[in-house]
């Protein structure tokens, strides 16, 4: 102890004319306390909220899009990762190393949004443009809603974290909220987002807009089986006049940020995208971690222009997915919300509300764009319209992260949906993914989903 004092004294003597040798300033990081105290800093912090969506461990870079198809067998496991193999065999365990990615990436985005939201009120006067303040706030609400929706879809109820974290948490962390509470929070977030966000402008590519919040809310109501709200909101987006279906299906993905896009995450050459790499076989420079299953490949109607996007073959006969094709720079933009889904939501809601004719009309819009004729007139009951809707979703929204959730939602109405789930053992407890074991270990307040 005496020596320590001596040391300090000597240091004081030495340090007299020096910079502080034991307190160097970091050159590539900002101390958290002063990170968000100007509008400009909040502006760049808001960019980082979207950046989290691009993440490859659990964002739209890969697993969010692939797992819902892989889990129910429209994609087949063809890779080497044992974590993906478990998803492909529908034999998930809590220890699966891909789960913390999905969980953690969502919460990382939520924490970034929480930071933005917490710092905004103190800076309100410093924004020259009031509408920018509202927009940043709306974007943060939207980001939280989107991440919580992804969480609740995979895991059920999760802890609702709404404040930025600046302290090491205590030993017992936050417990899970119920799925209903999470949905309620998502709805209030989207209401706030709709209030603050401007209508889609030309320079808004890749950012949340009023319509994006509306579209996401339509999906949220659909998932909660609130058909009328889902119908109204999908209708509002379709009728907004901002969007139009891209005439050629493949161009939705080829051209990027088309009129059909409501929210599409742009990947640039400097972002770590990997979708094309993940789908393409080795001979084309990819690693083909997952490929369209034969069941899925063979389910397309003749003449469906979407099949060539769903599957291509190498000269050696290897099947691979072809929706994300920019293997050279893996900078494919990724659709989060697009107009076709709104037609499908409006159609489903109409069918559920007992208006099959209206439902079929919307489905025909989607079918015609894909080069298919209208549905036969025989499709005129609610059950038939719903079955046709599920089929249309399967062939329209593949590799976009929908299939598993669609099958769950249609299981009560379409026997084929239940049959797929049953055949793969995805029943009862298996309808939710397990919470990541490392999260259960780190937070004793969490309870695991039953059956894991």
């Amino acid at each position: 102890m005496k020596l320590r004092i001596l040391g300090v004294v000597a240091l004081a003597a030495l340090a007299g004319a020096c910079d502080e040798p034991l307190d160097p300033t970091p050159q590539q990081a900002i101390p958290s306390a002063e990170a968000l105290d100007t509008p400009d800093e909040v502006r760049v912090a808001a960019n980082a909220m979207y950046d989290a969506l691009q993440d490859c461990d659990g964002g739209y870079c890969r697993n969010l899009l692939i797992f819902p198809d892989l889990y129910v067998g429209d994609l087949a496991f063809t890779g080497t990762y044992s974590s993906d193999r478990e998803v492909g065999q529908a034999t998930l365990t809590a220890a699966n190393t891909a789960l913390p990615g999905i969980w953690g990436t969502a919460y990382s985005g939520i924490n970034r949004a929480n930071n933005v939201l917490a710092s905004l009120p103190g800076l309100q006067d410093e924004f020259d443009d009031e509408s920018e303040y509202d927009q940043l706030k709306g974007e943060a609400h939207f980001i939280r809603a989107l991440n919580y929706l992804n969480l609740v879809n995979f895991f059920g109820g999760v802890p609702l974290v709404t404040q930025p974290i600046s302290q090491v948490p205590s030993d017992v962390g936050q417990a899970r909220n119920s799925a209903a509470e999470v949905y309620a929070f998502i709805e209030s977030e989207l209401a706030a987002a709709r209030a603050g966000l401007p209508e889609l402008g030309s320079d808004a590519a890749g950012r949340a807009s009023h319509e994006a919040a509306t579209a996401l809310l339509a999906r949220v109501h659909l998932y909660q089986r609130e058909w009328q709200q889902a119908y109204n909101l999908a209708d509002e987006v379709i009728e907004s006049g901002h969007f139009a279906l891209e005439p050629q299906y493949e161009n939705v993905f080829e051209k990027e940020q088309t009129d059909e896009a409501i929210l599409e995450i742009p990947y640039t050459v400097t972002d770590p995208g990997s979708l094309a790499f993940w789908f393409f076989p080795g001979s084309l420079g990819g690693r083909r971690g997952a490929a369209p299953s034969s069941a899925f490949r063979n389910s397309f109607e003749a003449g469906d222009q979407r099949r060539k996007v769903a599957v291509q073959f190498t000269s050696g006969g290897t099947a691979y997915g072809y929706k994300y094709t920019d293997i050279a720079s893996t900078a494919d933009d990724v659709p989060v919300l697009r107009l076709a889904e709104m037609y499908l939501i409006r159609s489903e809601a109409a069918a559920r509300l007992g208006r099959p004719a209206e439902a079929v009309a919307d489905l025909n819009v989607i079918r015609n764009r894909a080069g298919l004729a209208d549905l036969p007139a025989a499709v005129d009951t609610q059950a038939e319209a719903l079955a046709a809707n599920l089929d249309e979703r399967r062939h329209e929204l593949f590799y976009e992260g929908h299939r598993f959730f669609d099958l769950k939602r249609f299981a009560d109405a379409v026997p084929a949906a239940q049959a797929v789930l049953t055949a793969r053992g995805i029943t009862g407890n298996r309808l939710l993914f397990p919470l990541p074991q490392r999260e259960i270990d780190a937070n004793p307040a969490l309870t695991q989903n039953p059956g894991y």
Partner: protein, 1041 residues
């Protein structure tokens, strides 16, 4: 700013002692000869005990000491390889003559050892646990490529593992086990007083997915090293404070000696390397048989009525050419050259002395994408300006070129793919082009030929020092050091093969710079207080400034044939980093010896580091040691049987701060979280102002024994190391937005014993007679992790695991309990309730021939809860045994190294023993796979789906990793002087050498000395497509002029 700090350090060193007045002085001259032969001995250092002038004998063995203070003085003559001698003389105005005759001390039981901060002591003087190596003996008789290789098997308590056969890659060194989970377990290396930059500064490491790191240490040239000391216990190491927990390796380079003729040496060797083993895999015919059987076993043959593989013409099956059977491993392995040329010149006068050396070392890999070339130059100068002032400098320049390739855990590595690729794929197609239409994995021969990765390093290591003798026995030293490491990494992925084919080629170039600047001042003293007490010690302070920089740029779209990044059409990104940390230290050592019998030593160091949290800025590291030498007591002194008997005990504290990031204690936002080409900042880490170093308290008890005039020497040590405040990246709920927080949490204990024996069973009766000397060391260490955060286990790769009350990185997995032989043995009750005790429900699809796993928790279900301890990477004991035989100019050295009781998890087998499942080639074990006709109890059936998950991480793949290896065998011949002088040289030696000559092991993989993730602390003893070491044959020639 730095200059000011230096000045202050000097001031600190000087302020304590006023310059003493010059006393009356005299001159001592004399001659030193070898006992017995009476031939003159050059290079003997003659000094006045307790401080004063030092001289070195010339070729005639003569020395002269001037300015020796008048009075009764003790002179000491010492040379490595000879027993030191002291002589009492009375110095007056008249010059006096003193002669010495030194006897050989082949065992070095009382040689000089370096103990840090400019001080040396006789081995028998101190009480610390220090092991020494004189690499001259090693490098001249049995050369090795790196410093770590020199240490391997030669020091009790030091476990050296060459993680892989990748040339130039890092080697693991563990001094007395591992004492850290996350802060690194490599010892601190200090060369000529300058702590070295260590670690991996590769710029392409991540891009090539190679888990074998490179290491700045591989730039060191063993040829230019005079001595290596390994400070093992707290007493020896505590003076290095917060960086000493893993032991300290002190390296002293060669320096010139005063003599009339320069000592010129040329040493060269060349040879070739080859794989020493080719693990057993299937040929094409066997491969087809296994895969078709697996297909049929799972019902697909019946369902589709076509086999999985069929010769061309059968629709729907995968086709193959029956004439092709490729042994990919043979295709990829090659015989590789290795060579070394070293030249040095050393000499000087009483006033100025020099040592200059240059080396070129070349080692190609046994897979041609690998290689290592190193060129070293060193200049060491000493200048005696006056009887008080000596100045010196050492400058070493190294240029290294490391050719690298993807390896280990990757699907684009030539060696990994050679193991995994199916033998039915040909290397080339009909047109003679590389066959890129392979079944699953990219053609390894094409990968090896077309892709390139290389790192070039330039390393400047230098120090300057000034010793000023203030007055008798008291010296002030100022030492300034610089270690500057720069690296340029280059990566090129050809447009022809993945992973570069998608982007039409991929390239990367990056630069890394690391700089360490050191300034320290010390004040040391050594005084005889009469004949009874001797007091020595040192105090000092030091300041160290560490900077590291990194930048990297990458691009795609390469024109054919051009590989540099400048040829890329699209630059797709870049990154850079810049960081620093500083260390300010005060330290001291006092040693008191009473009649040479009872020696006590105290050390203390205080380190302040910018990496420590503001609540824990300064760490203090004290230690104490006591030694009692019985042989100095009258009642035992004249015993003819026992020549040495001493007991030692030490206790003290050391630290480890390597696990701390440079700004780890601070809460930070980081940039680079960009979106759509717009910048983004986001939270990076939470604050922890309490963050501090890891602390290791170590108790050491040891004994030194010498018998028969020191012809047999034993050193025994027992130690217990208790490490607390282990830095752990504690997982915090991801729902916070953060994943980890670095905290001082864990505790760990290492207990061990070490025994080193040196003996000369046969001593030559006359010159050229038969002589046999032998050295043997063995050590045992027990590691146990005693505390983790809330008992939360930590998982490493594959089966590596950390749990409380277990060894660090033990293997955890399912326990294989044989093979199901009949349906009766299999339980199909999904609730487990109806399962017989010990049998659990595994899956609906489990059938005879599948692996039975043990139901450890007895709930009738095989779940992740049924994983337990299945092995340990830590050996029960390790050691080495060296034998030297010489007769009539011939000498034979055989160095054997062993490790017993350690397990290896052969991770390859999760794929190669998935018989019929993954398209991967299968190991030869597949020939003994379970079939109804061959009811194997060890090998599973062939299965296409593997629904039972037979290849899950289990005891099935744990193998005994024990081995005994003749690491080095050398047969040499020294030409008699009468012939060599006729040839114009003063000495000439010819030798043949074999490294890894013979290995005895039950391990079935390529090499039992393996760590697939070279640098990892937790993940040890796991093999995953790791390039094995080579067997090397060389011939060498050493010339002296």
């Amino acid at each position: 700013m730095t200059r000011l700090r230096v000045l202050l350090a000097v001031a600190l060193a000087l302020a304590l002692a006023p310059v003493a007045a010059t006393a009356q002085a005299g001159t001592v001259r004399g001659r030193v000869v070898e006992q017995g032969s009476n031939s003159p001995l050059q290079g003997v250092s003659v000094s006045v005990v307790g401080g004063g002038p030092t001289a070195v004998t010339n070729q005639e063995g003569r020395f002269a000491l001037s300015n020796v203070p008048a009075g009764t003085r003790t002179l000491r003559a010492a040379r490595i390889g000879y027993g030191a001698q002291t002589r009492s003389v009375t110095v007056g105005a008249e010059p006096i003559e003193v002669n010495f005759a030194l006897g050989t001390d082949v065992l070095g039981l009382d040689e000089i050892v370096v103990i840090g901060y400019g001080q040396v002591e006789r081995r028998r003087a101190g009480g610390g646990a220090i092991s020494s190596i004189r690499p001259t003996e090693v490098t001249e008789s049995a050369p090795t490529p790196t410093v770590e290789n020199v240490l391997q098997g030669r020091v009790a308590g030091v476990q050296v593992v060459q993680n892989s056969g990748v040339p130039g890659s890092a080697i693991s060194v563990r001094v007395r086990g591992a004492s850290s989970i996350s802060a690194g377990n490599e010892p601190l290396y200090v060369i000529d007083g300058v702590p070295l930059i260590q670690g991996n500064f590769s710029t392409i490491q991540g891009a090539i997915g190679q888990t074998q790191g490179i290491d700045a240490l591989s730039d060191l040239n063993p040829n230019e090293i005079e001595s290596i000391e390994v400070l093992k216990d707290a007493s020896a190491a505590a003076i290095y404070g917060s960086r000493a927990s893993n032991g300290v390796v002190l390296i002293s380079t060669k320096r010139g000696r005063a003599g009339e003729r320069p000592d010129i040496r040329v040493q060269t060797y060349m040879g070739s390397q080859e794989a020493w083993r080719h693990a057993d895999f299937l040929n094409a015919e066997e491969y087809i048989e296994v895969y078709n059987e697996g297909w049929a076993n799972d019902g697909y043959l019946d369902a589709f009525e076509i086999p999985l593989f069929a010769p061309e013409g059968q629709d729907g099956a995968l086709t193959y050419d029956p004439d092709v059977s490729t042994d990919w491993i043979d295709e990829i392995l090659t015989t590789a050259p290795m060579s070394n040329v070293f030249a040095s010149i050393a000499g000087g006068t009483e006033r100025a002395r020099y040592y200059v050396s240059g080396t070129r070392f070349l080692q190609d890999g046994i897979v041609s994408g690998y290689g290592f070339e190193r060129m070293n130059g060193r200049l060491n100068l000493d200048y005696t300006a006056s009887s008080r002032l000596t100045l010196g400098t050492g400058v070493a320049l190294t240029r290294g070129v490391i050719e690298r390739s993807r390896g280990d855990n990757t699907i684009y590595g030539p060696f990994a793919n050679a193991i995994a690729s199916a033998p039915i794929d040909p290397v080339r197609d009909e047109d003679g082009d590389y066959n890129l239409n392979t079944l699953a994995y990219v053609n390894p021969v094409a990968l090896n030929e077309l892709n390139r990765a290389e790192e070039r390093t330039f390393h400047v290591l230098g120090n300057i020092f000034a010793d000023y003798r203030l007055f008798e026995g008291v010296t002030a030293r100022l030492n300034m050091g610089l270690d500057q490491y720069s690296l340029r990494g280059f990566l090129y992925d050809s447009p022809t093969v993945p992973p570069g084919s998608g982007s039409n080629g991929y390239g990367q170039v990056g630069n890394s710079f690391a700089t360490k600047v050191l300034a320290e001042g010390t004040l040391s003293w050594q005084r005889d207080l009469g004949d009874i007490h001797n007091l020595s010690g040192v105090v000092g302070s030091g300041y160290e400034d560490n900077d590291s920089e990194f930048n990297s740029v990458f691009g795609t779209q390469f024109p054919s044939g051009l590989k540099q990044l400048a040829s890329a059409a699209t630059v797709t990104g870049g990154n850079s980093s810049l960081s620093e940390y500083n260390l300010l230290s005060f330290f001291g050592r006092v040693q008191h010896s009473f009649r040479d019998r009872l020696t006590t030593t105290f050390n203390v160091r205080a380190d302040g580091s910018s990496r420590f949290g503001e609540n824990n800025r300064w760490g203090v590291f004290p230690s104490a040691a006591v030694q009692y030498r019985l042989t100095e007591e009258p009642f035992i002194r004249d015993n003819r049987f026992i020549s040495d008997l001493a007991f030692r005990a030490s206790y003290g504290r050391t630290g480890n701060q390597e696990g701390l990031g440079d700004f780890a204690p601070s809460a930070l936002f980081t940039a680079g979280q960009n979106y759509n080409d717009r910048p983004g900042i986001a939270p990076l880490q939470l604050a922890n102002p309490d963050l501090s170093w890891e602390k290791t308290d170590q108790l050491n008890i040891g004994a030194d024994l010498g018998f028969f005039d020191d012809r047999l020497g034993l050193t025994f040590d027992w130690y217990q190391k208790y490490t607390s405040d282990l830095l752990l990246n504690r997982p915090i709920p991801l729902s916070t937005g953060f994943g980890l927080i670095t905290e001082n949490i864990g505790e760990m204990r290492n207990t061990g014993v070490e025994l080193a024996v040196r003996a000369q069973p046969i001593r030559a009766a006359s010159r050229g007679g038969l002589e046999w000397s032998t050295e043997f060391n063995i050590s045992h260490n027990e590691n146990v992790v005693t505390k983790l955060y809330n008992e939360q286990p930590i998982s490493g790769s594959f089966v590596a695991r950390v749990e409380e009350d277990e060894e660090l990185g033990f293997f955890r997995g399912y326990v294989m309990d044989g093979i199901f032989q009949s349906e009766d043995e299999i339980c199909y009750d999904t609730t487990g309730a109806d399962c017989e005790e010990g049998f659990g429900y595994q899956s609906d699809f489990t059938v005879p021939g599948d692996v039975r796993f043990r139901d450890l928790n007895g709930d009738g279900l095989i779940t992740s809860e049924d994983q337990g301890k299945i092995g340990s990477p830590w050996p029960d004991y390790t050691g080495g045994w060296t034998n030297n035989l010489s007769l009539a100019g011939f000498d034979l050295t055989v160095f054997t190294q062993f490790s017993q009781g350690n397990d290896i998890y052969n991770g390859n087998r999760e794929y190669t023993d998935a018989f019929g499942t993954f398209i991967d080639n299968n190991s030869g074990r597949a020939r003994n796979r379970w079939t109804p006709e061959n009811p194997s109890t060890t090998e599973a059936r062939a299965t296409y789906d593997d629904s039972n998950n037979n290849v899950r991480s289990s005891s099935r793949f744990v193998e005994d990793g024990s081995y005994v290896r003749i690491k080095n065998a050398v047969l040499g011949y020294n030409l008699p002087a009468r012939f060599s002088t006729r040839a114009g040289v003063s000495s000439m030696r010819l030798y043949v050498q074999a490294q890894n000559l013979k290995t005895w092991t039950d391990y079935s993989g390529f090499d039992p000395e393996v760590n697939f993730n070279g640098a990892a602390s937790i993940t040890r003893g796991i093999d995953f497509y790791t390039l094995p070491q080579a067997r090397t044959y060389t011939i060498g020639l050493n010339l002296g002029f």
